[in-house]
């Protein structure tokens, strides 16, 4: 199942073809961004969250975004995930110009291509584990059965439990199952282990890596935890709204061998 093809967007009508960037370094690029800027105006102060970011994200890679609070990594993740728009610059997802999409089209983009995992799980408390997964499979074109997604994260036995009846790690694995059930092209994880103890965190990271391996999903992780960077193909170090450096790992350390 490697290299799951990105799902075609129904609105992909007049998208210009960016062959030049597609071919750079012989990698197929999931995302290509140029001069991305994001400026928030809060009250009377301007906050420059992104100050001109250029990036190429390879299809199927594991990418870790490292950096202190306020360095712009979450802002970038939100823009990549179609939750927010850049103030300036361009951003492509394969053939799709994300900056040209309106709200409804961005929603369709997320629905078709993006799986999210949040620090605080964001499960619906009134739905069982399986129903939380179904929340996504209900609206996807080619999902795996919700039960199968829960099997993948090792929670097949607990699918009828409500979030309040699950531990934090189990809840986060439900969130991962929810994210991978639709076989997304991209998994975006914002501090997925931030609220978990080390042992549980490792379990979650294993699950994410497994999705990357078995489904060919591009995996983008935000973390404060430099240790996690070892499991990545590449690491972007953020500072002051810019990518200060890019680090490539020769070999990826399996999640199971990590500890912090």
């Amino acid at each position: 199942m490697r290299n799951a093809a990105p799902q075609q967007l129904s609105y992909a009508s007049a998208m210009p073809h960016r062959v030049d960037q597609q071919l750079a370094n012989g990698h197929k690029h999931a995302f290509v961004g140029r001069s991305l800027r994001k400026t928030y105006i809060t009250g009377e102060t301007e906050v420059h969250a992104l100050r001109g970011v250029d990036l190429d994200i390879h299809a199927g890679e594991v990418l870790v975004l490292l950096g202190p609070s306020g360095s712009g990594k979450s802002t970038l993740l939100n823009i990549i995930g179609g939750l927010d728009r850049p103030t300036a610059g361009e951003l492509w997802y394969y053939d799709t110009d994300l900056t040209a999409l309106d709200d409804a089209e961005l929603t369709r983009f997320r629905r078709a291509n993006i799986g999210f995992v949040f620090q605080f799980y964001n499960l619906i408390p009134s739905l069982t584990a399986e129903e939380n997964v179904r929340l996504v499979t209900d609206i996807s074109d080619n999902p795996m059965p919700a039960a199968e997604a829960l099997e993948l994260v090792g929670l097949g036995e607990r699918r009828t439990h409500f979030p309040a009846q699950l531990s934090g790690g189990e809840q986060q694995r439900v969130a991962v199952a929810r994210a991978i059930a639709k076989r997304p092209g991209v998994l975006l994880c914002d501090e997925p282990t931030g609220a978990l103890d080390s042992q549980t965190g490792v379990r979650v990271l294993e699950t994410l890596a497994q999705a990357n391996q078995e489904l060919g999903t591009t995996l983008i992780l935000i973390t404060h935890n430099a240790g996690i960077a070892a499991m990545a193909d590449r690491v972007f170090n953020f500072l002051d709204g810019q990518i200060a450096s890019v680090m490539e790992n020769e070999t990826r350390v399996p999640a199971s061998e990590m500890a912090w």
Partner: protein, 788 residues
């Protein structure tokens, strides 16, 4: 210096202004209906009392066939009578140019210049008639307005069989004619029935009654026994054909006004409480929610040393401030609506002046009720805020626990989508709040339905009376009762297909200590045009012997079928007999008694038993026939059934349409208040979940479904509940609004359920959509970072 806690209160109010305003709207509706009904009741009562007092409205009235003036002194000499006055009251037929149907007037005699001791005339324009100047009259304002007449106009009239020309010298009003209706009519029509006042000497001459009168009014001394005086008056007037003295409570004008006042009072007992109950529940739900979200703040306040009492008071003030807003809005609206309603009454009931003033007491009582119900609603939340332990309060509240219960399994069985499950489980998770939403919307629907039922009820009464009981085209009343020969005379007129006699004999019915003055109406064998129809629309025939009483009359006299009742004939021959009560009939209008015509004839032995006649006509000859009838000197009035029915419908429409706007607004206020608050609470509770759904790729409209789906489901449950509440509320209102004069049937049209449902659905939908727009403003980015 405003305390910091009060600054917080102001900010909280501003922050929750939408919800606060929606609650204030419901409280305002309570205050408004209360202030309006009490204000109008109070104003009308004050106006009436002042009018009665100033113009010396009499306490007791008696009519006779003809009596010498000297009887007035005898009546005045009765122990307890303060003042008595005699006058002539005479029906006359008027000939107005271009009018086919006869126009009638009741002419009352007055002293020189319009003066009298009792029931004094109020001159609005012109002057009073000179006592001996023939033809000078003052006419009542409603008649003048309806016929565009003014001082100086001349009217051709037939008085006591001879034609004369009247000159309008003044326009006036009197306290004994605040409300009036022509005899034989069911609906007042000022264009066809006038009240005139003519000089005493002139009317004596015109009616051949020199030195004679046919009516006496009297005022009794404070504390005197009215019943005792009436007995004396009856004894004195019997030999002059007295028809039995009556007190104010039986005097037509006063009775109708009183029945209106009673209805207003009934309204204050039913409608404002509905709004108050809803507002209590709204405060309970909204404040409860606010306090749950402010747990941390409450903990902090207490940690800083605020007492339990001051924290509780802080939240109680929130509820009271909302109530205050409602009271201000409602008082202003109620005052304004009351004024326009009073003005409407002034059109219908003729007062020379109208005090519209709402006493401070009404406002204070309305405010006390509103504050009270808000405080009751706040009690639960305030007590939990006061009781909260600061250490516990500062830790986050335990998350809502959802477990696999019956509903969850049902949801799985029913194959609900994940979103469907979210909706259903949330409703079940907060049963109290869901119940308040259902109950509030249901009450709004029920209230509207019960008001709509009023229209149906009035129409059903109309149909019951006109279509089933009165099938004649025209009824003709005579100046004096005729013998049976008149029937063949009428039958010869052009276009007359069928003639039937009608007769009503005034009597006093006595049973033990109870007595009631009524007319016994005759049923004739073989009659086709009139019948006695009960509330269910079934025809009921009076028994071959004995009396049939309307249920209301039987109840008043404590009589059952099989009982004996003493019947005393009033007017003319003074005889009495004991008759059997053979049956009762459940009727909508009036308190009446019936007997077969031979039973009645045995009792009265009257030579001229025909009081009026009912005609079935060929409509092609209608104009010609009415013209001929109007020329007959014995004819007092001609009533066309269809015209009367139309007029009645118009009155119903006018009265109801003006009130309908208010009630639609009020019922909507409840629906809006309840739905807005329920949707806002839902939104704030679920903002996190809704934003999560948006992140997961749900469109705005799909997220809106989660929000609105719950509201829609609750409203859907509320619709049948509202129809059920409306059914019983309407029954209660029908019972409370019924009086001696009429009993409203409970007869809702199916469309009324539909209309009430549509209005409430429209209000609920519009309100929910306003809240749903917030989905557009959901912050997806923040939700990723925050705990829910």
């Amino acid at each position: 210096m405003v305390k910091a806690l009060d600054t917080k209160l102001m900010r909280d109010l501003w922050h929750m202004r939408g919800q606060a305003f929606a609650i204030a709207l419901v409280i305002g509706a309570a205050t408004a209906t209360f202030v309006m009904a009490m204000g109008v009741h109070h104003s009308l009562t004050e106006t009436r009392d002042a009018y009665y007092d100033r113009q010396r409205y009499a306490d007791v009235f008696v009519n006779m066939v003809r009596a010498p003036r000297s009887i007035v002194d005898q009546v005045a000499a009765i122990d307890g009578v303060a003042e008595a006055e005699g006058r002539i009251e005479l029906y006359s037929t008027l000939e107005l140019p271009g009018r086919i149907t006869p126009v009638r007037a009741m002419i009352n005699s007055v002293g020189d210049g319009g003066a009298s001791k009792l029931n004094r005339l109020v001159l609005l324009r012109g002057r009073g008639p000179v006592s001996d100047k023939e033809g000078e009259v003052v006419i009542d304002k409603a008649f003048a307005d309806a016929n565009a007449m003014d001082v100086g106009d001349r009217i051709d009239a037939i008085i006591y069989g001879s034609r004369s020309q009247l000159e309008v010298v003044g326009i006036g009003l009197a306290p004994d004619y605040i409300w009036s209706i022509a005899p034989g009519e069911l609906v007042p029509d000022a264009s066809r029935y006038g009240i005139f006042w003519m000089g005493e000497k002139a009317l004596e001459a015109a009616s051949n009654r020199t030195g004679a009168i046919n009516a006496i009014s009297l005022i009794i001394q404070r504390g005197a026994n009215e019943a005792e005086i009436i007995r004396h008056v009856d004894a004195l007037t019997a030999k002059y054909g007295g028809t039995g003295a009556i007190g104010r409570e039986d005097h037509l004008s006063n009775t109708f006004l009183q029945s209106e006042l009673d209805q207003l009072e009934a309204m204050t007992r039913i409608i404002p409480p509905i709004f108050l109950v809803v507002s209590t529940f709204l405060v309970y739900v909204v404040l409860g929610r606010t306090i749950r979200t402010e747990r941390g703040v409450i903990g902090l306040l207490k940690a800083f040393g605020h007492t339990n009492g001051s924290v509780g008071w802080h939240y109680l003030k929130f509820a009271l401030a909302v109530a205050l807003l409602g009271i201000i809005l409602g008082s202003a609206a109620g005052w304004w609506m009351g004024r326009s309603m009073t003005a409407q009454y002034a059109e219908y009931y003729r007062f020379p002046f109208l005090y519209y003033q709402v006493s401070a007491n009404v406002f204070l009582t309305g405010a006390a009720l509103a504050f009270g119900s808000a405080a009751i609603g706040a009690m639960g939340g305030v007590r939990s805020a006061a009781a909260l332990n600061p250490a516990v309060a500062m830790s986050p509240p335990p998350p809502p626990i959802y477990r696999a219960g019956l509903i969850e399994r049902l949801g799985e069985k029913a194959g609900l989508s994940a979103v469907g499950n979210m909706i259903v489980r949330h409703i079940v998770r907060w049963p109290g709040r869901s119940a308040v939403t259902v109950f509030g919307v249901a009450l709004s629907l029920g209230l509207l339905f019960s008001v709509l039922q009023f229209i149906d009820s009035s129409r059903a009464m109309l149909d019951n009376y006109f279509s089933r009981a009165q099938r004649q085209d025209i009824s003709v009343s005579f100046i004096e009762p005729r013998n049976e020969k008149v029937l063949s005379e009428l039958a010869l007129l052009p276009g007359v297909i069928r003639v039937e006699p009608a007769r009503a004999v005034p009597v006093m019915l006595r049973h033990g200590a109870r007595s009631k003055r009524v007319a016994i109406e005759a049923a004739h064998s073989g009659e086709m045009l009139t019948s006695r129809v009960d509330a269910q629309g079934f025809e009921v025939t009076p028994p071959a012997s004995g009396l049939m009483l309307s249920r209301a009359l039987a109840d008043q006299l404590d009589l059952r079928p099989g009982d004996k009742v003493e019947v005393e004939l009033l007017g003319g021959r003074q005889t009495s007999a004991t008759l059997n009560v053979a049956s009762t009939i459940d009727e909508l209008i009036g308190t009446r008694a019936y007997a077969q015509s031979d039973v009645l004839q045995n009792l009265s032995r009257d030579a001229s038993p025909v009081g009026s006649a009912n005609l079935l006509i060929d409509h092609a000859h209608r104009d010609e026939l009415i013209g001929k009838l109007a020329e007959m000197p014995m004819v007092l009035g001609v009533t066309e059934r269809d015209a009367a029915m139309e007029l009645f419908e118009r009155i119903i429409d006018e009265n109801i349409m003006s009130m309908m706007g208010f009630y639609i607004a009020f019922a909507s206020a409840i629906a809006i208040g309840v739905v807005y608050n329920s949707a806002r609470i839902l939104f704030s509770e679920r903002a996190h979940e809704l934003a999560t759904l948006r992140v997961l790729g749900y469109h705005r409209s799909e997220v809106g479904v989660v929000l609105l789906g719950e509201v829609a489901l609750l409203v859907a449950i509320a619709v049948p509940a509202g129809c059920f509440i409306g059914y019983w509320l309407a029954r209660l209102m029908v019972a409370m609004f019924s009086s001696d004069l009429f009993r409203l049937p409970f007869a809702p049209e199916r469309s009324s359920y539909g209309v009430a449902t549509l209005v409430v659905l429209a209000a609920a939908t519009a309100t929910a959509l306003i809240v749903a727009r917030r989905v557009n403003r959901l912050d997806m980015v923040r939700v990723l970072k925050a705990h829910d």
